[in-house]
Symmetry: D2
Subunit: 340 residues, 4 copies
């Protein structure tokens, strides 16, 4: 099998580093460039000594990166910036996997409402595919512009989409209480990301439909349910580097055993979804440093809500691992390559 040339825009955040490591293990890709506005001119391994002998490439400026001749580009740029750089790449026939939120939201007005800016590239939006492999695999295989889902979103949509497709009509309120490791906040210098502020701490933030991932969660859940869903989503910061655990409550006339059966059936052939046996709850430790999403179903009897617990690594199945899974699908590689 021939190799493809790939590049990474905005490679010096946490998702970029993970992509570099994954691509290094991939037998059918060759990393042609890594780029960074801030660190252009330095070697990747100077910025991240952990990558010494893994990736000693010099970081390009975004401008130089755009001139490279590659077949696939991962964009780890921030939203609003990312779409603008994806456009010329797609125009050149390069297939782009965008880890930002720019192509996740189908409705421009919704994008503007949540991201407080005009969409930088609406003309590309119609051809973008939402990159949840377990649910959009065939569209992913053909797209030139892939919108890689958010980390919280993945942990919530993966268990809920099959349920809403089957029994969406019965479900009332949906509450997702999610707990994330600190790498989810990125590598920026923010007070709340300081060790002393986050360690031996646990805190809630953006409570009450304030977090941007709500836009894509509502969108995808509404499609699955065939009715308008407005999720209650409470993100929390947990004192760990990686991982998300979401505890999801479904009120209404749902039945735990039936929900479990639906998830088992939906995911029985999926290599990265592990539905747990009753009584065996997911935990972050079991999925950290992997591309797995684990999930369980409890409750749903005696008037109690059904409780779904899901767990994934926010940097892998919640970001770079899922992005590579999408790349594998897009280029016809074995879907689990470099991920199992």
């Amino acid at each position: 099998m021939t190799s493809i040339q790939v590049g990474i825009l905005g490679a010096t955040g946490y998702t970029g580093v993970e992509l570099v490591k994954l691509l290094h293990k991939h037998p059918h890709t060759s990393l042609s460039f890594v780029s960074s506005q801030t660190y252009a001119g330095s070697k990747m391994s100077e910025v991240f000594p952990e990558l010494k002998s893994i990736c000693d490439r010099v970081l390009l400026s975004p401008e130089d990166a755009l001139k490279q001749d590659v077949q696939c580009v991962f964009s780890c740029l921030p939203h609003a910036t990312s779409a603008g750089l994806c456009k010329p790449l797609v125009d050149k026939g390069i297939r782009v996997i965008d880890l930002s939120a720019d192509f996740r939201i189908r409705d421009l007005a919704v994008y503007t409402q949540w991201y407080k800016t005009e969409h930088p590239c609406p003309e590309l939006l119609p051809q973008a595919v939402f990159g949840l492999p377990e649910h959009y695999r065939s569209a992913i295989a053909k797209t030139n512009i892939l919108a890689n889902p958010g980390c919280y979103s993945s942990s919530i949509m993966l268990p809920l989409i099959p349920l809403l497709k089957e029994i969406g009509a019965n479900i009332g309120t949906i509450i997702a209480d999610s707990k994330s490791g600190v790498s989810g906040a990125g590598r920026g210098l923010k007070l709340g990301s300081l060790f002393v502020e986050a360690h031996e701490n646990f805190s809630a933030y953006s409570i009450g439909r304030k977090h941007r991932h709500i836009a894509e969660i509502d969108q995808e859940l509404s499609v699955a349910a065939g009715k308008k869903i407005a999720i209650t989503f409470s993100p929390h910061l947990a004192p760990m580097n990686r991982g998300i655990l979401s505890t999801i409550y479904l009120t209404g006339s749902t039945d735990g055993a039936m929900c479990l059966e639906i998830l088992r059936k939906a995911y029985k052939n999926e290599p990265f979804i592990r539905v747990r046996e009753p009584g065996n709850l997911p935990s972050v430790r079991d999925v950290a440093y992997t591309n797995f999403c684990d999930m369980s179903v409890t409750g749903g009897t005696e008037g109690q809500p059904v409780i779904i617990v899901s767990a994934l690594d926010n940097l892998l199945k919640g970001a770079s691992g899922q992005a590579l899974q999408n790349m594998n699908i897009m280029f016809g590689f074995e879907e689990t390559t470099a991920l199992l």
Copy 2:
């Protein structure tokens, strides 16, 4: 003001150590004994070098401890064991503060259902007082046998009792999603309490009305609401030593602003309850190593549930700090002594 003589049964767990430290700062108490089945004969400071020069007393056996002449005893013994040792103390006229669950549950059948054992001392139960100072202060002042509430329970009852008293009729489902530090599991040698198992991990456990604190939470919330409450309670283990944060969802026709007003009014003169301004969410770091319980109210508009976030230190306001607060009330000391 004269001093009282106090003792601690089962002093070598985490709550015992905290009590020793608190009593050391208390100007009106004198620690007469500490006891331990396992470590009897050793100095407290040999078992806990952190207590060197704070408490160098030799640990007594429980039998010897019962012979001591004191006015107040804290029992940090496990449930089912604790009540049996409290009885002879109360009979001698010693006032007992029991940190176990033995005297928290008023209904013997409920006790047996959750704790899987006959109650060891039902004759004392009628005179026991549930030690939530903010709600039972006058009864606490007079009791000889005080049942100190559980840690999770305190974090859930403190915000909910005033709300249920006022608007319990309007409230539908109550979901408490709680996150606790590892000290809540005690000092026993359990696989799940090992550093490597809990660090860089986050996990759910006892999901689906399985945790014993449900017994006391349902009991106290039902009293407050004047109707039968069956809470949905999901405990989680967070990778930190101390602290509990509970995110509580109230469905039904509730209003966030009204809930906030009720809490402010209920707690405006309470020294250890801090109701946060809107937009300012509690966090574990703000209450760790203190006897405060912080709480906030969000949501309750556009069909969304009201969301309460509460935080406390599980070893202080959730255990030993609250126990000392109760002792202060019982013996007529300033309620905040050694706690602020």
Copy 3:
């Protein structure tokens, strides 16, 4: 006993917050002001919600702070800045406790060499006293300008000063391998202080006589030994909030048993120094949140070096606790007030 009025300059770093908490427990002080360049105009409890109901004072600008009528000021300002603000205070007769390095170094040239700047206030230097209470107690009692020692320095000087006084002539190389929690780096926004960079990490830095605390360590050890000492000092960053553990190696013809005897004798009446029994090693957990410094002696037989292990809380005995201990001495309060 009458109360004194005190103020804190630069109160919004980690040492300032600790001082506020300690002063809140002190029966003979009244906090007149807290100041901050960055947060002037905000309440202290808005910047640090943990201080709600503990300190709700509005932060003054440094300029306004200097006009306040107080008897004692703690300066938590950075070096080079601090001395300049201390001067007018001392001139007004206010007694100043400076937590910066500005008055620690007696030799101006050495100050300039390590701190890369001219000393901002050399005229005050002769009257400054190095605030290690166990060794300079009587001078501390009389001074108007106290130089509070560094955190690493305290952990190294406390065990070594008595030894060097007695057997300095016999000691060859001194190597201090120190491990600090992340709060030692302060509250500034630095990449290395981010949670994800420091958690699940352990790293060495400033290896090879590069760390500024060497200046004061060499100075004080040389005084004690009566000969020039040039310590080998290797600081490390450990993934914890607080605490320093120093492992100190003494080569030369030293004897472990004799060293232990010297330390026991030197510190037998000191309330905050705990010399451990042989075989019982200090740990950070035993001193965290206290003003203790624990120390032990091992080795010194069969040609092996004597190994001292010392531990303290970098924010208390290594900074604010020691500062308060110094204040207690300066103003004739019981030395352990608010600290035990």
Copy 4:
């Protein structure tokens, strides 16, 4: 290339789990069995849910494991037990990689002195090879019984062996101050391994030539230096899951620049050794979850000792990763297979 059949004795400790994960990625091995005394009869993935779909094999008893037809066995059993089970395997022609200490010590008296027991299998000792690939590669390729080095030992021997070979005569005292993550203590239920005891803590233990790894370190360093070495070794426990950082001090007439040059030359073609540039110090984060050992050289001027800092992942280059590297050498696979 054909595959080999491999098995793991004592697979339910931390090193066993790591081996299972590594072997799962190895294209030329097939895992024939995993065994456990305690968990025999359960699936590996029931004991470690993280291994679901990675290794769902039923754990065999050690007795059944010995009957399996394989070419290679990894023993993760404890010392004293391990050697006894390795013997029949070697007799059957199976090549054994022993992760215990049983075959590391060439001198039976030294083994007995440190491990307080007779050697369980002295007849196999002469043919055992010490499995440090960078220094014993050709012997490793041929052996049937490989002694995989200890974790601390690897971090100390890897930088020191080349130096002692070249300039051992000049080196005086060698002090290794090592800091390890908690997984180094294994998965046993010990008080010191509890989360609450180790978290927010940092402690020294076995100070003063008490740790068993001294036996193998002294042995290998003495061989390299051509003279008897008695290292000063101080292990410490750091609050992290994985990783070791060793700070090593060399007194005597050594020169930092020369030491650096020796290490660069010794390791320039080694895929898993990364010698850092001056001023760029190793850290645990850079080697965690990899088989790398990073090292740096500082100091050695103005009478100061040369300071070596080395870092590795205690479960990979310090245990299972190195074991797999050894297997690759023994069976003629590319040495980096499944490790890069």
